[in-house]
């Protein structure tokens, strides 16, 4: 089978090419067959590869397919690596990807750009798998920029609107700011290690003591983290993700919740042995993550658009993941990637199901009472909601608890921030859930037409709900009698090449119980508050908003960050560009430097032309004058 594993990323690429070039002519049936089929094919191959890798003693399968961009001392082959980390991520991408492709068949059925949509989605899976499986940082960067491209195309999918193109552009450019960080980080790594092959970098880094190369490596890892803040929507580069909801909902689920936005976390796990060497970077990662988790959660409290709430929730949950990484919990952070992929994809697709039923109504305030009309959507959403608020026993509880616990061990202040964010999460999720499914219908026209979604969509929801429930099996925390097996599973990958594996401190089980009880109790009471505030409609919340008008307005307008960026960053840059053009280029270089000498030459020429009169008497006069001067000079 080894000979066929290159097809794992290539199959979706072929599907994309087919749908893009021939899809319109081939018809919807063929597009569906190819578009969904290639991702399922890729999933089957990925499963085969995964078990082949698992059977190997070192859980690592490296494949090489020849040279790509090698010159001088730079050597970049086309190579794929499957180890416990990339193997797991590969399964998340193909598995959840396949489900979301299936869902899209129903969701996008009436859209004119059906073939275009599947072409972009397949292309995304190709780039995401390249990001995950690439053996070198350059190949990872191919995927890194490539998924950004697909994200851009899919956000701007409704290109005839005013809003979607802006959102797409914003996403691409914000991501590119982060990409510069990755590019600079790669240059530093290449200069420091002489290679960009990940395994070689990790082996070399594993032989370094933490102090060695402190400055260089800290700088490099910080640069990589800048890239991660772009792709994974952390402060300050998170701005694009809420706007990215302009894309179709399956896109939000696949790209902007489950897979692409977690690639920042994935990258840090991939380079974990280097990050471990740079404690300053780890502190930055933890604090930025915690700050983002809380910051985004507070905005989520008041948003009205169902997808926007989920978007801020994603930003916030990604913050948790970084908090876990920064607390040296690479397994914990990645475990949250895994569990979050299930329940957040489910939340988005459930929201999509609701939006689909409500004829593209996304305003929470106009929903309500949908429980009876959409039972499958209701129950699956309930599972996801319980998971995300960390209800005991769910997968969300397991992964979030482990992160909070590690955060406490690193710095109790981080734990407090994480806890506050968890409370906000519990509140806004119950708010969302109650406003959508419970209470009375607030828009009767839409309500009357609402219906449960087609099978391809509900089937996907059910499978994702099962996944959300089962995900807990991989990592029930040790403090509660589990084995947190994901830690041991990922160990060969996140400690690759390390001579001395670094073990974080471990507190006692009692401490874990106390912390978990506190956070669970607080979280559940906030959830209850959310439920009771909205179960009878909007009156309670409106009264509360009236009590704190400034705070409410601040949150509603997302702290005015977008406006600030426009006013203090983008406008000055455009102004500067105009200044350079009109003052520097046109006036200084071209005017003074080029046209002025030209004009002077012409004026001087015109002046001397005055003496070229063509009259003999003028010339005779000049001759006489000249002769007089010569006589004077020679006879003096």
């Amino acid at each position: 089978m080894n000979d066929y594993y290159w097809l794992i990323p290539i199959l979706p690429l072929l599907g994309s090419a087919f749908n893009g070039l021939l899809g319109k002519r081939a018809g919807k049936g063929a597009v569906t067959f190819v578009g969904v089929g290639v991702v399922f094919g890729s999933l089957l191959l990925a499963l085969s590869a995964f078990f082949a890798m698992k059977a190997l003693p070192d859980h690592r399968l490296a494949l090489n397919y020849g040279e790509w961009m090698s010159t001088g001392s730079l050597n970049v082959p086309f190579g794929l690596v499957m180890d416990t980390l990339s193997g797991t991520m590969m399964l998340i991408v193909t598995g959840i990807g396949a489900l979301i492709h299936l869902y899209s068949v129903g969701y996008m059925h009436e859209d004119e750009g059906y073939a275009r949509f599947f072409s972009y989605m397949n292309l995304f899976v190709f780039f995401m798998l390249t990001l995950v499986m690439g053996s070198s940082l350059v190949l990872m960067f191919v995927g890194w920029e490539g998924v950004g491209l697909c994200s851009y195309l899919l956000i701007g999918y409704f290109m005839e609107t005013d809003f979607a193109p802006d959102a797409g552009l914003k996403a691409f450019l914000t991501n590119r700011v982060g990409d510069l960080g990755v590019a600079i980080g790669m240059m530093v790594f290449f200069a420091a290690f002489g290679t960009l092959t990940i395994s070689d970098i990790l082996t070399q880094a594993g032989h370094l003591a933490p102090e060695v190369g402190f400055g260089v490596l800290t700088f490099a890892t910080l640069m990589f983290f800048v890239g991660a803040t772009g792709k994974s929507a952390q402060l300050p580069l998170y701005l694009w993700l809420p706007d990215a909801m302009a894309g179709p909902t399956p896109v939000s689920a696949l790209i902007h919740a489950a897979t692409m936005v977690t690639s920042g976390i994935y990258m840090i796990c991939r380079l974990a042995p280097v990050f471990t060497l740079t404690p300053i970077t780890m502190d930055v990662v933890a604090w930025v993550g915690a700050a983002t988790a809380l910051f985004a959660a507070t905005i989520g409290l008041v948003q009205r658009d169902i997808k926007r709430v989920l978007a801020y929730s994603t930003v916030s949950q990604l913050g948790y993941m970084f908090l876990g990484l920064g607390a040296s919990g690479f397994a914990a952070g990645f475990f949250h990637v895994f569990t979050h992929a299930w329940f957040k994809a489910l939340l988005f697709l459930g929201a999509g199901s609701v939006i689909h039923a409500m004829h593209h109504e996304q305003d929470l305030f106009k929903m309500g009472g949908l429980r009876a009309k959409m039972p499958i959507t209701f129950w699956t959403m309930l599972v996801a909601t319980l998971a995300i608020i960390g209800f005991p026993g769910t997968s969300g509880f397991a992964s979030k608890d482990e992160i909070l616990y590690l955060a406490y061990l690193k710095n109790p202040a981080l734990w407090v921030i994480g806890l506050l964010a968890a409370c906000c999460t519990a509140f806004y999720m119950l708010r969302l859930f109650t406003l959508t499914f419970l209470g009375k219908a607030r828009d009767h026209h839409a309500y009357d037409h609402a219906h449960e979604s087609p099978t391809s969509m509900t089937l996907t929801l059910t499978l994702l709900a099962v996944g959300s429930l089962l995900a807990v099996w991989l990592g029930w925390p040790k403090a509660f009698g589990g084995d947190f097996r994901i830690e041991e599973w990922l160990a060969p990958a996140v400690t690759y090449g390390q001579l001395h594996a670094v073990h974080g401190e471990h507190g006692s089980h009692q401490l874990a119980w106390v912390l978990a009880s506190a956070s669970t109790l607080l979280g559940l009471s906030f959830a209850a508050w959310g439920y009771f505030s909205y179960k009878d409609g909007l009156a309670v919340s409106e009264a509360r908003a009236a009590k704190f008008p400034i705070l409410h307005k601040l949150l509603l307008n997302k702290y005015y960050v977008d406006e600030g960026v426009e006013l203090y960053m983008l406008r000055p840059i455009r102004w500067f560009g105009n200044l350079l053009w009109k003052l520097f280029d046109v006036i200084l270089i071209d005017g003074v430097g080029v046209n002025l000498p030209g004009a002077l030459t012409r004026v001087f020429g015109d002046f001397t032309a005055l003496f070229q009169t063509g009259r003999v008497r003028n010339y005779a006069l000049s001759m006489v004058l000249g002769a007089a001067v010569l006589l004077y000079v020679f006879l003096k």
């Binding site: 040279e67 790509w68 961009m69 010159t71 001088g72 001392s73 730079l74 350059v138 960067f141 191919v142 920029e145 490539g146 491209l149 701007g156 290109m159 005839e160 609107t161 005013d162 979607a164 193109p165 797409g168 552009l169 691409f172 450019l173 590119r176 700011v177 990409d179 510069l180 590019a183 600079i184 790669m186 240059m187 530093v188 290449f190 200069a191 420091a192 290690f193 002489g194 070399q204 370094l208 060695v212 190369g213 400055g215 260089v216 490596l217 700088f219 840059i573 455009r574 500067f576 560009g577 105009n578 350079l580 053009w581 520097f584 280029d585 270089i589 071209d590 430097g593 080029v594 030209g598």
Partner: protein, 541 residues
């Protein structure tokens, strides 16, 4: 045929001129026939150049034709043409772009079709001759000869301000070349001829300050062509006023001759002086990258935007050359090819849009994607190449240049490479912002708008023009070694010569790899210890 076998380069260089004169001799009424004849001829030259140059190139020794020609005030001038690893692909790029551009602008011109085709072929002779000439006087002749057809192309078939643009283009370039001619004659006198190797040897005997002056004279002439900031202001005017075909060739080939001049003549002839001026060159390159991008960002005319983007992209070429590393120089060579393909394609596409809408103002468009989906797809792919997305050609060139600069032995390498990465970001800003305003969004329903006048998507001819470009963009991005493998050995040799006399300081280990790669030695694994050196912290500044 035997003559042809021993003189393929002579044929390639002068056959276009002969064909051009034949076309000029045809009566005016046969304009359409002349156009067809010109295109068929150019296509034949492309096929011949491919089959001869690639088919026989083999070991990398290349072709050379050299014979004594005449004596200029006691200095022998050689008839010397060469195709080797440094110019092979630039030559093929030229023979490729000429027929492609003719086909792409088939219906753009309405009058004097035959004259235009003939001028185009004369221009091809000038470009190929300049690329192949291995005698500096011969090179100079071609270098100046290129100006004349381009001057007429802009001045006769150009836009409203064509006279100003044509004069500016001509005088700008000429003024740089005249200074260079003085240096050339001075050095030829010292060397007793115009052979670049002998001239380089003669130059190395001269005092260092004289070498520096000579280098500057060479560099200014080439830098105007590139164009390097602040000598770039002829470019936007020339591009905007030139007809599409002129813009394509200007961007695709003429600018390349500047960078090529550095690699072929200025650096190998004055290795110490060029190392001495590496820093100023790099500073100007970084300024060009950022400045060109910022100015491109605020343009309102698409063609002018593309013109300023050329300034930015060619800045990358110069930065790669100034790095004096194998990776950086190889990147510069590839970036020249990339820019020829991508920017040439952008000008073609803008021309196709202009032929339909009769405007190039960004504000006049909006929603073009809804009316011209095929055109939009091609434009988008070329845009991706222009912004350096991985798996397109633009990425490979920029990545090599930036890495080469970063690990050059120069103390400024790391800082400048980091600054230059902002050009990659700004490139995405101006290209995608323009793309959004022109192609996306609701359809611009205004009666006077450009979108309103778009009635047809690309026809078969235009698709046939764009397809090879897209194939090349992907090919160069996925397998760049096809295009740079031949230049690796000459570049290594060039840099060994250039670097030998200069004492170097290494901070991180990077330069060690470069040096060891150049010597063919494997890199020592113990080198990671150098990370601990205090100087390594400089990277923060």
């Amino acid at each position: 045929m035997t003559w042809l076998n021993s003189h393929p380069l002579t044929f390639l260089v002068f056959a276009p001129t002969i064909l051009g004169f034949v076309i000029l001799a045809l009566p005016h009424v046969l304009g359409r026939l002349s156009r067809l004849l010109g295109f068929m001829g150019a296509l034949a030259f492309f096929v011949l150049s491919l089959s001869w140059l690639l088919g026989h190139h083999g070991g990398g020794a290349g072709f050379t034709e050299r014979a004594p020609w005449f004596t200029l005030v006691g200095l022998p001038v050689d008839y010397a043409l060469t195709v080797d690893g440094l110019n092979l692909w630039l030559v093929i790029l030229t023979t490729f772009l000429v027929p492609l551009t003719m086909l792409g602008t088939w219906n753009s011109l309405k009058d004097r079709l035959g004259t235009f085709a003939a001028l185009f072929l004369l221009l091809e002779t000038g470009m190929l001759g300049a690329l192949m000439a291995q005698d500096l006087f011969f090179f100079y002749l071609f270098w100046e000869a290129m100006l004349i057809p381009m001057y007429f192309m802009i001045g006769v078939w150009g836009g409203d301000e064509r006279r100003y643009a044509a004069n500016k283009f001509f005088l700008y370039t000429l003024s740089g070349s005249l200074l260079w001619l003085v240096a050339l004659l001075y050095l030829a006198n010292k060397a007793g001829g115009f052979n670049p190797v002998l001239m380089g040897q003669a130059a190395s005997m001269l005092p260092f300050s004289v070498q520096c002056w000579l280098f500057i004279a060479f560099a200014v002439a080439f830098a105007i062509k590139v164009p390097l900031f602040p000598l770039h202001t002829w470019l936007p005017d020339a591009h905007v006023q030139a007809p599409t075909a002129g813009s394509v060739i200007l961007a695709g080939v003429l600018l390349k001759l500047g960078g090529y001049g550095f690699i072929r003549f200025a650096i190998p002839m004055f290795p110490q002086a060029s190392m001495h001026y590496a820093k100023p060159l790099a500073i100007l390159s970084v300024i060009a990258i950022v400045y060109g991008a910022l100015v491109a960002m605020v343009q309102r005319d698409i063609k002018k935007l593309v013109a300023y983007s050329s300034v930015s992209h060619m800045g990358f070429v110069m930065l790669g050359l100034a790095s004096f590393t194998v990776i950086g120089t190889q990147g510069a060579i590839l970036q020249m090819l990339n820019h020829g393909i991508s920017t040439g394609a952008l000008f073609l596409l803008v021309g196709m849009l202009y032929d339909r809408a009769h405007t190039r103002m960004i504000a006049d468009f909006g929603g073009v994607a809804l009316k011209m989906p095929v055109f939009t797809t091609f434009f988008f792919i070329v845009t991706l190449s222009s912004i350096g997305l991985p798996l397109t050609n633009g990425f490979v060139g920029e990545f090599w240049i930036l890495n080469g600069t970063f690990l050059s032995g120069f103390s400024w390498g790391r800082l400048y490479a980091s600054l230059a990465t902002s050009g990659v970001l700004l490139g995405a800003v101006y290209m995608l912002w323009m793309f959004k305003r022109v192609f996306w969004g609701p359809e611009n329903k205004d009666e006077d708008s450009g979108t309103h006048h778009l009635h047809s998507d690309l026809n078969a001819r235009e698709v046939a023009v764009m397809l090879p470009i897209v194939v090349l963009i992907l090919w160069m991005g996925v397998h760049p070694r096809t295009f740079v493998a031949v230049s690796e050995a000459p570049v290594v040799a060039l840099l060994q010569d250039a670097k030998a006399p200069v004492p170097r300081t290494f901070v991180l280990k990077p330069a060690v790899h470069e040096a060891s790669a150049a010597e063919g030695a494997t890199h020592a694994p113990g080198a990671t210890e150098t990370l601990a050196e205090p100087a390594a912290h400089e990277v923060h500044r």
